[in-house]
Amino acid sequence: AETITASVVGGSGFTGGELLRLLAGHPNVEISEVTSRSKAGKSVGSVHPPLRGSDLRFTEPDDLESVDVLFAATPHGVSMGRIDEFFEVADTVVDLSADFRLETEAQYDEWYDGHEAPEYLETAEYALPEINRENLAGADLIAGGGCNATATILGLYPLFEHGILEGSAERVVVDVKVGSSEGGAGGGEASSHPERSGVVRPYAPTGHRHEAEIEQFLGTSVAFTCHAVDMIRGASATSHVFPASPVSKGDLWQAYRGCYEDEPFVRMAAGGSGVYRYPEPKAVAGTNLGEVGFELDPSNERIVVFSAIDNMMKGSAGQAVHAANVALGLEETAGLEFTGLHPVGAP
């Protein structure tokens, strides 16, 4: 089978480590370089246990080697400053930060601190194949989705795609519960183990950055609130949707099966029996799977939509590898076959 060379810029963080873990196990990938300013010279296994025994060592992030695909797992604001340099060494660049997710410079002025390379925003392709597969084939610049937005979009997308929601009149409330890896390895006092354990802690009561990304792809504004809970990796989004006209369970199944029946990385979990009747982060931890489900609440004219992902995988590194597989014409599920553990503890 075909082999492509790949490098990871910013490989010492959680997301960088997850990318490395996936690429090291990917049948079509040969890792040529992993950069990290803080860990240069150290073996990748010393930072990321799943890679123990690998002779790969972190290198300085300057004078990058040329590769087929470069994954950037750097904090927000880094890729936009180095994108030209990245394209000098790689044909395809997959950026996991927010630097190329939104379409217009105005959005970056409003939600971030402006943009250093707005000319790339036009051509950047959103990495979520379930809603952007046709544009990903052959794309040069791929922008990984945000984890909260990915969970929310996966849940709501079929409702818009099949006209159950038009995106104007309806009220949509999104209430998300996330793990601590979203804040990255650093984080201040609030993310020390004594303070972060066992919380149900509202931390972005009005999460506008996520709303901007969700609105861009669903075409509707959502009222978003995020809570930190006692997980490390995992995101659960519960969307409360009030459609303008009544809808039946049959309509819902038609919409969701229509969008996801043939998708390799979306599983339906809407009622039924057993312990795991609805989507749950534990059930998809470590996998690139998204679980989606719904419940109809006629007395409140409401549809309750549940979606669960592993924010490190479907919400970040897994999505990036999936998008790269599509862009480079590889087998879509290559390197992403793990389907989770049961029973298992907090993800």
Binding site: G146, C147, N148, G183, A190, Y203
Partner: protein, 54 residues
């Protein structure tokens, strides 16, 4: 005693107050900056928006 600009509750002040000092309101937790001491005047301190990461 003076009133919190955020929630209107009474804010207890210690006596050797200094201009520029930051006092947090014990009712709503808002951070208030002392802009005058005779009589004591408090304004909402520019609180740096905590970066929630992700």
């Amino acid at each position: 005693m003076t009133e919190c600009v955020e929630c209107g509750a009474e804010v207890s002040l210690h006596d050797d107050l200094e201009v520029g000092e930051i006092i947090d309101c014990t009712t709503c937790g808002a951070e208030l900056e002392v802009v005058d001491t005779e009589p004591p005047v408090l304004e909402r301190a520019p609180e740096l928006e905590e970066d929630w990461g992700e």
